[in-house]
């Protein structure tokens, strides 16, 4: 078993951006992503999911520091002004059977 310290970037934003973000991840070279439905409140107000335009997604991408920064920068630059967006990065240790892992 092999473990690697890496980054977990979490993006909470409008459901309307789901497809666009997925395209972005593919283009920027992320190995994967995980999405859950969410609701919340932030600077842009309450987004409680009562109406399709009012629902959030919570997106996680596990990747190295460099890609996490690239993704964060891209999202802040592209969507922060016009959309409800929150981005944060944390440290995690990914566990895989061997150094290469399944995906790389």
């Amino acid at each position: 078993m092999f473990t690697r310290r890496t980054k977990l970037i979490t993006i909470i934003t409008e459901s309307a951006l789901e497809h666009t973000l997925i395209d972005d991840f593919d283009r920027l070279g992320a190995g994967g992503y995980t999405i859950t439905n969410a609701r919340g409140k932030g600077y842009t107000g309450v987004r409680d999911g009562r109406w399709p335009t009012d629902s959030n997604i919570r997106v996680e991408v596990i990747c190295d520091t460099e890609l996490a920064d690239t993704i964060a920068e891209h999202i802040i630059k592209t969507y922060y002004r016009d959309y409800a967006v929150m981005v944060y990065i944390g440290d995690v240790t990914v566990v895989k059977p061997d150094k290469s892992g399944k995906g790389s």
């Binding site: 107000g45 999911g49 009562r50 109406w51 335009t53």
Partner: protein, 314 residues
């Protein structure tokens, strides 16, 4: 004025929302109901189209599409120069009011049916035709016909939105299968139609009530616009109806379509096409003001319009 039960359901939702009762329809159910409504309306229209010569409808069709382009162009200057909205917000609100609301249409049909007033059954064709033009106008008002705009993606979003696909799909299936074919699926789409509409309106009432808190933020102009513009566009729609030689019922429906404002297709399209527009502003107007106004007061009023126009026009 005796209210139809479906309107009573809307009022129940409105009241329950205003007193903050712990109640809402699961969103999956709301979607289910709206899918049934869209398909049922499409199917009804399609059955009728199967009896018509499409060629005969072409002039009317073009006139209605033209109205779809004109209405937002009338709304825009009002919003921009009287309402002093930002350009992009004015364009976005104009797009909402130029397009149509399927829920409002369904209530209007229910109104006519309850009073046994005849109308041209192919009206759903106009409904689907009116969805899109205003969206295009809204975008062009802000972006111009700039090559930078990702038109491919936008048109895909606009023309392949859920409501267009379901209405159009219903129309085509109704057209191909004809009255007897569609009869066999009446047990889901036609028999429970009015009950489905009632439940749909219950949730719409709850949603509309939740918009009220936003109302204060945007002040009196929006309130006024949300009531006065529908009356104005209802007159235009009614006038066009008479010019096209529609029956009183058909005239009233075209007036209602003109007067109604989109709260599903257009908000979604605007979020992609004009993200810098304030989405709450348009939604509050369309959902919190115009929809309740139309359901409760507008529809009988547009009926009056149609009768009046027919008196002077006929």
């Amino acid at each position: 004025m005796s209210l139809d039960p479906v309107v009573l359901f809307f009022i129940l939702g409105l009241c329950a929302g205003l007193v903050r009762a712990e109640m809402r329809l699961p969103s999956a159910i709301y979607e289910f109901l709206s899918i049934i409504l869209l398909l049922a309306i499409g199917l009804k229209g399609g059955i009728e189209l199967s009896k018509q010569s499409i060629g005969d409808l072409l002039p009317d069709t073009m006139a209605v599409v033209a109205m779809g382009f004109v209405l937002p162009l009338l709304a825009f200057p009002l919003l921009r120069y009287i309402g002093r909205l930002e350009k992009v917000d004015a364009a976005s609100v104009a797009a909402h009011y130029g397009s149509v609301s399927v829920g409002t249409y369904a209530v209007a049909v229910t109104y006519l049916t309850a009073q046994q007033i005849y109308f041209e059954e192919y009206m759903p064709l106009f409904l689907v035709l009116l969805e899109v033009p205003a969206i295009l106008v809204g975008i062009v008002l802000v972006r111009g016909i700039s090559k930078n705009t990702r038109w491919g993606k936008l048109l895909h979003e606009v023309f392949l939105g859920k409501s267009v696909v379901l209405l159009l799909g219903g129309l085509l299936i109704g057209w191909v299968a004809g009255p007897e074919g569609v009869e066999s699926i009446a047990g889901l789409f036609f028999d429970p139609f009015k009950g489905v509409l009632a439940l749909f309106l219950l949730e719409m009432g709850l949603i509309a009530a939740s918009q009220v808190s936003c109302l204060r933020r945007y002040g009196l102009f929006l309130l006024g616009f949300g009531v006065v513009f529908p009356i104005f566009s209802g007159l235009i729609g009614g006038g066009l109806g008479v010019m096209l030689g529609l029956s009183i019922g058909g005239t009233m429906l075209l007036a209602t379509l003109a007067a109604s404002a989109s709260y599903i297709a257009v908000p979604a399209a605007m979020r992609i096409a004009l993200p810098e527009a304030n989405p709450t502003l348009s939604l509050t107007a369309a959902l919190g003001i115009t929809f309740p106004f139309n359901i409760i007061f507008g529809i009988p009023l547009y009926h009056k319009f149609a009768e009046y126009f027919h008196t002077i026009g006929g």
